[in-house]
């Protein structure tokens, strides 16, 4: 059983580079769970104290939008981890995880993690490195997204051509980053297209007046009884007001 688990751990990025012997030590502390489609692995707001590694199956990571509707913020594939931040902090779960297919996960409890930390600092260090590289990766992309957003706000879309090529060259191997990028660039492209449409309208702008219609509409209004009275009245009212103001 523990051997099975060790084999599964190998597939997880957090344990990349660990010796078989070290993997076996972790495997002893982990437990396996089987889930059916629709089962909730963790719930947003709960205090979480374990990390899950997905062996089989897919999960959706969901939160709620302002209207209370479900908002899928991510999908995880086999080999990925869910809830890893719980090993480091005490904060409640920031999202829920629900199985999209029948699934099997490994659970590593915080207490077990601390035991490993105590007994096998080498293993713990590998795990921490894995966690922090992921964090660093996110932070880098957040920083980039901030820079780009500022450029877009200033109406500068030039960066998009250069950036995309540069990124393709570095061949980012992270799916999530690729998704973020593609969504971002799609957005920039639509903003740019909308702005161009607007510019075109502007160029077509020729201001003209249909003089015949203008005359006709004017005559329609001044021809009414109301208007005939109004003109006289307006004159009188203005004179009255001027006179009464002179007295003040």
């Amino acid at each position: 059983m523990a051997e099975d688990i060790a084999a599964q751990l190998k597939n997880c990025f957090l344990f990349k580079g660990l010796s078989d012997e070290a993997l076996a030590a972790v495997a002893q502390k982990a437990s396996t769970h089987t889930l059916a489609e629709g089962d909730v692995l963790m719930r947003r707001g709960e205090t979480g104290d374990s990390l899950f590694m997905v062996n089989e199956g897919w999960f959706k990571i969901v939160t709620e939008d302002a209207q209370g509707d479900e908002l899928i913020i991510n999908k995880t594939a086999p080999g990925e981890t869910i809830g890893e931040m719980a090993l480091l902090d005490e904060a409640p779960r920031s999202a829920s995880a629900i199985a999209l297919t029948p699934a099997r996960v490994l659970e590593l409890k915080k207490d077990a993690f601390y035991e490993i930390l105590d007994q096998r600092p080498d293993v713990a260090l590998t795990i921490i490195r894995g966690l922090s590289s992921r964090l660093r990766f996110s932070t880098t992309y957040i920083q980039k997204a901030i820079d780009w957003s500022q450029k877009i706000a200033a109406g500068d879309y030039e960066f998009i051509e250069n950036t995309q090529q540069a990124l393709r060259k570095t061949e980012s191997d992270d799916d999530k980053a690729a998704q973020l990028l593609s969504a971002f660039f799609q957005m920039v492209r639509s903003v740019k297209a909308r702005e161009n449409d607007l510019k075109e309208q502007l160029e077509r702008l020729t201001l003209e007046i249909d003089e015949a219609r203008r005359k006709q509409e004017f005559e329609d209004i001044v021809g009414t009884d109301f208007y005939a009275n109004l003109k006289e009245r307006a004159k009188r009212l203005r004179a009255q007001r001027a006179a009464s103001q002179d007295e003040e």
Partner: protein, 261 residues
């Protein structure tokens, strides 16, 4: 010798920015130390109260009550300089002499007045009373778009008429007729103001085009601004963002109004 002025803000179509213009101009003029009133005569689609943070709970008597003979017009006055300071921009109006005469936002009252109509003479008397009782230097009138009888009346009695237009052919056509009417009614001061001009446009050229077409001065060309749209009429934009291009152009218009003797 008093010198009180009625300033009507008009546009051919709704959504042109009349209420935003009126509220911002009146605020700027009040900030210059003048005593200022604002009457919302857009009884069918009132809007200016929002810019001063008034909702159904805050709103007391309205112009509708006055027109139905339920109260004297003085009871409709809402003191902005004391009671509408709950936003970043409006807070700057503290202690200023600025009063709003709101129109009712209750559906029932709006449909009643539309159904039964009202006496335009009474409305005019109301203007005179307001001017005198509050010793106003300026009374701004936010009008209903188009050229119905009530709007014709407020144009007719204006000392200053500001026509707000968007730079498009539909507004050009409608504005032309309003300009002709204002001339025929001998309105002493006719001013044009272009709003929602696309920023990439050559504003100087646009101003010239409009002035040439209508033979009337353009007091300002105000840009179409996402910041202003985003403000959602929740605050007095030119007070909240005084350095914005829209606010600068708006202040030009306010200065033109203040310069008229």
């Amino acid at each position: 010798m008093a010198n009180r002025k009625i300033v009507s803000i008009h546009s051919f179509r709704g959504g042109t920015g009349k209420s935003n213009t009126t509220a911002n101009l009146a605020s700027q003029v009040a900030l210059a130390g003048k005593r200022v009133g604002i009457v919302d005569t857009d009884i069918q689609s009132p809007g200016i109260h929002v810019l001063f943070g008034l909702d159904e709970t805050k709103m007391g008597k309205t112009i509708n009550d006055f027109l139905h003979g339920k109260c004297p017009v003085s009871e409709v006055a809402f003191n902005i300089g004391e009671r509408a300071l709950d936003s970043e921009g409006r807070a700057k109006l503290a202690g200023m002499n600025l009063w709003l005469f709101p129109s009712s936002i209750r559906g029932r009252e709006i449909s009643q007045i539309l159904r039964e109509g009202y006496d335009v003479n009474l409305l005019n008397e109301g203007f005179q009373t307001i001017l005198k009782e509050l010793q106003l230097d300026y009374l701004f009138i936010d009008t209903h778009p188009g050229l119905n009888e009530e709007t014709l009346l407020s144009i007719a009695i204006s000392d200053i008429l500001i026509i707000v237009l968007r730079p498009d052919n539909q507004d050009f056509q409608g504005t032309a007729v309003t300009v002709d009417i204002a001339r025929s009614l001998d309105v002493p001061n006719l001013i044009l103001m272009v709003n929602k001009a696309l920023p990439k446009y050559d504003f100087a050229d646009l101003r010239k085009q409009v002035e040439n077409k209508f033979h009337a001065p353009v007091a300002g060309v105000l840009p179409l601004s996402f910041d202003l749209a985003d403000n959602g009429s929740k605050d007095i934009f030119s007070l909240q963002h005084p350095d914005h291009e829209w606010s600068k152009a708006l202040r030009e218009v306010a200065e033109t109004v203040l310069a008229i003797k």
